[in-house]
Symmetry: C2
Subunit: 220 residues, 2 copies
Amino acid sequence: MKTIKLRSNVMAENNRIAQKLRETYEKKKLLVINIIGSPGCGKTSLLEETIKKADNNFRTMIIVGDVQTEYDAERLKKVGADAYQIETMGICHLDARMLQKKIQDIRPKGTDLLIIENVGNLVCPAGYDLGEDSKVVMVSVPEGDEKPLKYPAIFHRADLFLITKIDMLENSNFNLDRAVQNAKKINPDIKAIPMSSKTGEGMNEWFSWLEEKISRKKGG
Amino acid sequence: MKTIKLRSNVMAENNRIAQKLRETYEKKKLLVINIIGSPGCGKTSLLEETIKKADNNFRTMIIVGDVQTEYDAERLKKVGADAYQIETMGICHLDARMLQKKIQDIRPKGTDLLIIENVGNLVCPAGYDLGEDSKVVMVSVPEGDEKPLKYPAIFHRADLFLITKIDMLENSNFNLDRAVQNAKKINPDIKAIPMSSKTGEGMNEWFSWLEEKISRKKGG
């Protein structure tokens, strides 16, 4: 009982800060995307390709969450990204307070898009609002097409389902249609994009999705 | 401050129950293994192969934790496993109380080995003692060889590191030696077994590891 009450207090505090963040993003007309997926599902690889191909179409900033190490921000800086790391020091998700602190340090200006790469974890990050416009859930082909049914919370809350590493479809049991159907059982409105950072498949659709969101944010 | 104190109370309670479980396992001379890895790293596939090949060498029982669904226990039953599911209903890990409840229901008797397949998550399950003899950490080749450095807590606590899906090594950036070195930086005593449920590579070593542990438990 005490645990439940405390947890709901923690969540209320998180939501309060997330709401403040949302107002900050709104004022700056900054589109914020929160990417959630398991360790090794290809989050950082997708972001590398996104930065390489974005050119000057939109100005992007990336905040990467990891339990430990700054590898991912370093990887992203190598391809020219404006990337920042949050080390959670054992915590299994990013929360709004961590984001708020980082945003206060960075003071983003003239940025169109902030992508948050959450800690590699398909469970806990789903519960924490970071004030983002959209959550994006990522599952890679080697993980299996039943994942939406096993981890429904994030599929319920995400606007977009990126199915990554489709270059590995051959010789695998992963069925693309079944994966999408499973996701839509949880969330009928979710959009799915099968993609591969290796072959570039699906990248155009990902960019269209982002650009449409950015332009709607600017105009809104 | 309040959060930290409550968390330490939750952990103390978990450890108290885990200690009771440990005594129960000890009395039954039951070896208990707690397998921890990301969603889709191949935990259930390994257990399917383990059950198929174990024959009557040792009597095995499996408890599978998932946030939702009973798919994994069903998969395991299909290959003849004595398998039970714990649905955590949103919780990102198994805790000792969930195990205790399940063990009370099942009342294992004459079993040599209990394998616990934890919730797919490389972060949170690491912190919860289930009274097990050994934690086993699993990372699959598509996830990348830097994972031990990014998720040190579980590598610190595990006795065995299973590197799965090594049939996917070709055309990947995963370096086996580097993966083992990274794991040993966190835990010099960890043993590593590269394996593939598809080709059967590493299965003999996995069985030797289990058999040695079982016979030590029986004799001890």
